[in-house]
């Protein structure tokens, strides 16, 4: 099984997770820019975080044989803090880089006016840079928030196939599908979607334009949920090719629209390598 997790917050995950992900077949990820569990208070905070998404985290993933990509944006929660708004002026610098495959996560948290303004501006930026947009749907009042999201996407005039609407469930699938956008589902232990409900949705509406992710982050979440969804698909009678379509080819197709994928990025399986092929000295263990 080759797996491309299109939404996972690796900044909050350990090297144990990277090892387990690689063992399960994960070879590529997209890490969206989001919040850190508690609100940031300055533009500089964002700059260092974005730098780590295209620097340290990309390197860290490469040590475990995983090609790491990122999306960049001012997330919905922090769009409400005037101290953070200055980051919007610095976004173009990041949106120009290799491996930055979309503007995201954007969207609504509490549906405030400030959120509307920031969401709109960033959808426009996506268009200006020829990048797709990754849209987070709110966890509270989800159906309403998703409807307003689709209205805004239509108003701004971004092509629906360049938009993925994430964290969908049974109440929001149809409206996003009808709009022609990509549908993303976060498979989570206690909330959001689970792998069995996911399989039912796939059985009902097919595999086209569907992304499955773990959205693993600071909370109780599981970076192997993509793999588990693949297993659930097989158990339900889907083929290996169906699984490959959903877990690999679909993310490649959606994010490939950015022209910024780096699937052949320099990665090594750090577990297999020693000191770059040098022979190793072994000394006598010194006694007391």
């Amino acid at each position: 099984m080759r797996i491309f997790d299109p939404h996972i917050h690796m900044t909050s995950r350990t090297t144990d997770d990277y090892e387990a992900m690689h063992a399960a077949g994960v070879r590529a990820v997209v890490e969206p820019a989001f919040w850190l569990g508690q609100p940031r208070t300055s533009v500089e905070s964002f700059v260092d975080y974005f730098d780590s998404l295209v620097g340290w985290e990309r390197f860290r993933a490469s040590q475990f044989g995983i090609a790491h990509h990122a999306t960049i944006a001012l997330n919905p929660k922090e769009a409400n803090d005037p101290r953070c708004l200055g980051i919007l002026d610095l976004l173009p610098r990041y949106l120009a880089k290799d491996g930055v495959v979309a503007v995201g996560e954007v969207g609504f948290d509490s549906m405030t006016d400030a959120e509307v303004e920031v969401f709109t501006r960033q959808l426009e930026l996506a268009g200006e840079h020829g990048l797709p947009a990754m849209v987070h749907t709110p966890h509270r009042d989800k159906a309403t928030g998703t409807r307003r999201t689709l209205d805004l996407v239509r108003e701004v005039g971004i092509e629906p196939e360049m938009v993925v609407v994430d964290h969908l469930n049974e109440t929001t699938v149809e409206m996003v599908d009808d709009a022609g956008a990509w549908l993303a589902f976060s498979i989570y232990p206690d909330t959001k979607m689970d792998e069995h409900r996911m399989v039912r949705i796939l059985q009902e509406r097919g595999l086209e334009r569907v992304l499955v992710n773990s959205a693993a982050d600071w909370g109780r979440s599981d970076p192997l949920k993509t793999y588990k969804t693949g297993q659930a698909m097989l158990a339900a009678g889907f083929s290996d090719d169906d699984v490959d379509r959903v877990l690999w080819r679909n993310p490649v197709e959606f994010f490939g629209q950015s022209g910024r994928l780096m699937l052949d990025y320099d990665t090594t399986d750090g577990l297999a390598a020693t000191f770059e092929g040098n022979s190793i000295l072994r000394g006598e263990r010194t006694g007391a």
């Binding site: 880089k97 000191f275 190793i280 263990r285 010194t286």
Partner: protein, 226 residues
Amino acid sequence: MSRTQQLRDALVAHLSPAARERLAELADAVAAEPTAIGRLFPAAAREVARGPLDPADRSGLYGPTLDDSVRGVLVAALVESLDDEDAAIRELTALYRYGDGDEKRAVLRALDGLGPGAQPIVEDALRTNDIRIVAAAMGEWSGTRLDVATWRQGVLKCLFVGVPLGAVHRLGERTDDELGRMVAAYAHERLAAGRTVPDDVRLVLDRVPHVLEQFPDVAAALRPST
């Protein structure tokens, strides 16, 4: 022949005709307006070429990658066009500051020929644990210009993070007793913990073997087995 032209010629064999043309366009754009490099540097890899230059050095630890070399051409065009080292260092500092991991590495590989003004960039790079950036920071510029105390710490860092010592420029020429002591002490610590010691400590210790008088366990470990 200008340095930009030299670097471009060296790359020719590795680039498709379309890539060569695009690189020429980018270099000319930087020559005409040096500050354009900030805009052109990020896209240079995907628009021209990316990947290993030497297939045996996939990560670009011993020398530049293809994308490092492409970006190096733009840096050469910048330096020539500005013809003012302080201004060049300012631009390179910005490129490094705003660069992703690969862009930072490219800047580090392009510092040779510049003076002590480049040191803050190298010092920042030596504080990261991205081994490709550390390796690039211990390249040509540092081999000739980095002050010896910082340079020694850089060598030790390479040992710690897994950069092969063969990647450190002018390691042999700059090895001194103090570096020998530091490397021997590191090897001694590893042996005391029952752990392995990378063979490339020899690159340092063979140069200053008298240092091992204080570390008989390391001397014993380095002796060829009978």
